[in-house]
């Protein structure tokens, strides 16, 4: 049976890896990002949008549902980070982070869950960060926005349980992506020492955890967060 997946923030980084990974597994992937993607595949569609734009999100989800008759999986991957001392963090940056990380996740989750509820099946996976349990200084706002996602997932797991929809969260380990490109090596080394496994992870580690949440046999797995690398 053909499966349909939406991945937000699929233009680069982990989102891009996941899009290619699931396309290889014969899943139809609908991706989105603020700008165009150069990913070309017969089973891939890309939308350019701001994930916090309610009307644009509704349009993407409804068009997908209309075209394919369902949405099986949603991966809320889109996220932005700004790592700085709070004294140096303007409110506009705080608003942007919450807008993309929290509001975007909420909008996609709500709209996709409406569609999934009709088929009594759905798998929603959010992305959080080890900055939440580590309470990393310099990442107060980023961690707060991701903590919001984690708690929201736990509550939505209950709201959606009767619809056959699970909601879970994955925290990637330290992965070398654009998100941490400007973080000093010493800081990253210190961070790796705090993980149970003291090395960088790879995007495939994230895909592996997501695979578990997406699996048809994982219908009892909901409201959970997996911190890869161990916290």
């Amino acid at each position: 049976m053909e499966r349909v997946m939406i991945i937000t923030g699929s233009r680069k980084g982990i989102g891009r890896y996941l899009a290619e990974y699931y396309l290889e597994r014969n899943i139809t992937v609908i991706g989105c990002s603020r700008s165009e993607s150069d990913l070309k595949h017969q089973k891939y569609e890309h939308y350019c949008l701001d994930v916090a734009d309610e009307k644009a999100v509704q349009k993407l989800v409804r068009q997908t549902a209309k075209k394919y008759g369902k949405i099986d999986y949603l991966i809320n991957n889109a996220g932005i980070a700004s790592m700085n001392h709070s004294f140096l963090t303007p409110l506009s940056i705080v608003e942007k982070m919450f807008s993309t990380n929290v509001f975007g996740t909420f909008l996609f989750t709500r709209e996709c869950a409406k569609i999934m509820s009709k088929k009594k099946f759905g798998r929603i996976v959010n992305m959080t960060t080890f900055a939440v349990p580590f309470k990393l200084e310099g990442e107060a706002v980023y961690a707060a926005s991701k903590a919001a996602i984690t708690v929201m997932a736990e509550a939505l797991a209950r709201e959606y349980a009767d619809y056959g929809i699970t909601v879970n969260t994955v925290a990637p380990p330290a992965v070398q992506t654009d998100l941490i490109a400007h973080v000093k090596k010493e800081k990253m080394d210190k961070l790796l020492q705090r993980q149970a496994i003291h090395r960088f992870g790879k995007a495939k580690d994230v895909a592996n955890a997501i695979d578990f949440f997406l699996h048809d046999n994982s219908s009892m797995v909901t409201g959970q967060t997996v911190y890869l690398g161990g916290v």
Binding site: E54, K55, Q58, K59, R62, A65, K66, K114, I115, S117, K118
Partner: protein, 91 residues
């Protein structure tokens, strides 16, 4: 959108949701409060079904707006008031 069309969409959605031929559904059918034919979760599901039915007709609206939630008289009171609200949003 004509009022009759909106009423029909809401009636079909209500009938589809409650799935009980013994319960008459018409413009006067109550959806919220005492005598409502659906409970609160039922109303949530109904709203989703109506939004989907409207989307099928290329009418993209969100029924659960801040405006709808803050009105002194809820537009979700009955089939009739909900139909009026749909017409208002789709105008």
């Amino acid at each position: 959108m004509e009022k009759n069309e909106a009423i029909q969409i809401v009636i079909e959605a209500v009938k589809g949701y409650i799935d009980d031929e013994n319960v008459p559904v018409n413009a006067e059918t109550v959806l919220l409060g005492n005598n409502a034919v659906v409970d609160s979760i039922g109303l949530v599901n109904l709203i989703v079904d109506i939004e989907s039915a409207l989307a099928e007709k290329d009418i993209e609206v969100t029924l659960t707006s801040e405006d709808a939630m803050s009105r002194r008289k809820s537009p979700f009171r009955s089939v009739d008031t909900l139909s009026d609200y749909i017409i208002e949003l789709s105008a």
